[in-house]
Symmetry: C2
């Protein structure tokens, strides 16, 4: 069966948060209108791309003047689904998990970390900022009682697969995986990696390419 609807392209989705941050800054400065040209220049993109991206949010602009800042902000937040706060748990309260649990910026994305879980008894009943740490064995009970949709996975690589399976059994719909491990999970589960290795690989490659180009001659970018 064909739905035909493809949704907003992922590359566009990835740029929306950048627009949003910029626009929120503009709003604080009291700016009411902004052109795609300005946004593009600020972010090192091409105006045409910014216009295409904006069109995905459903907002229309006025020729010569541009777009209404607050409308754009609202539309982007809505497009990203960040207007409905989602509760999440952090699983694995090591260094990275702790940092994530304490990170205050998530609120801006409509993401609320409500609890953390770990297998280490020394961590039980401590707090990471406002976030309580519980035994991992209690995670099912917690998820059942509270409305948790997302699991932020920050366990060691060798425990990532089994822990993620546990979370799926508990009914979580989406897993944000910070462990350096590719997970094999059922199709109905959304998995998003934030893989330091991948990110560093791209960094390494860019450095290499830049050095090669310098050797050869000059310029050109991508990312």
């Amino acid at each position: 069966m064909e739905t035909g609807y493809r949704g907003i392209p992922i590359p566009t989705i990835k740029r929306l948060p950048s627009y949003l941050r910029l626009l929120q800054g503009y709003r604080e400065q009291g700016m009411e209108m902004v052109s795609a040209t300005t946004l593009a220049e600020e972010l090192g993109l091409k105006p045409i791309q910014v216009r295409k991206d904006i069109s995905c949010t459903g907002i229309e602009g006025k020729p010569k003047v541009g777009f209404v800042v607050v409308n754009l902000i609202e539309a982007i937040i809505h497009t990203l689904g960040w207007d409905n706060a989602t509760d999440a748990i952090v699983v694995g309260a090591g260094h990275l998990g702790s940092a994530l649990a304490r990170y205050e910026g998530f609120e801006r994305y409509g993401l609320k970390i409500v609890a953390a879980f770990d297998v280490d008894p020394n961590k039980w009943d401590t707090w990471l900022g406002d976030v309580p740490v519980f035994p991992l064995s209690k995670v099912k009970e917690y998820i059942d009682r509270n409305h948790v949709n997302i699991g932020v996975l920050a366990v060691p690589a060798d425990q990532a697969q089994e822990t993620s399976e546990l979370l799926v059994e508990c009914g979580l719909l989406a897993i944000w995986n910070f462990a350096p491990k590719d997970l094999r999970l059922p199709d109905h589960v959304v998995v998003q990696r934030t893989d330091l290795a991948t990110s560093f690989a791209v960094l390494s490659a860019k450095v290499r390419q830049k050095m090669n180009k310098k050797e050869l001659s000059s310029e050109v970018d991508d990312w």
Copy 2:
């Protein structure tokens, strides 16, 4: 002037670390050969894509049997430039910066965090694992004396731009930016973002798309 050489596609670069992790596991298990088909199945990719990716590393396989595991490992490490260790500093020793400084997995990528810097005097002369924390005011001196190429930026968003400019003035070639802020830096500097907002945006979008599909095709969920 045309160089013609475009380098390895970024999407391929991003998949190489996944292959590498898998292959290193195979090596530990004593496997000597592996087919693209197997790798693909394990990672949820198509065999043809894996073959294309592998061809970028310059390794050739044998029909019917596949590729020599250790050759592949070596070639991927070399392609990523992970065989030459690079020294890096972490700038910003808050929760995230501390976690990054303490993260032991970087060694596998040929990345070595040699020092951290912060403006907060309470953090000076403490240690994050094996990594000493110094005053940010000493960063230029440190970079000049030691061979540091990469800066890992983990400061608050409102300090990211100026701090990154400082690092560029100190001569760093590349900045790995964990701050939720888009940096404007000279073209000769390589910037790689690891932006939680972007990553979460993709997660949010995938969840939405999945829910839309479910609505269209049949069942209705609520959450």
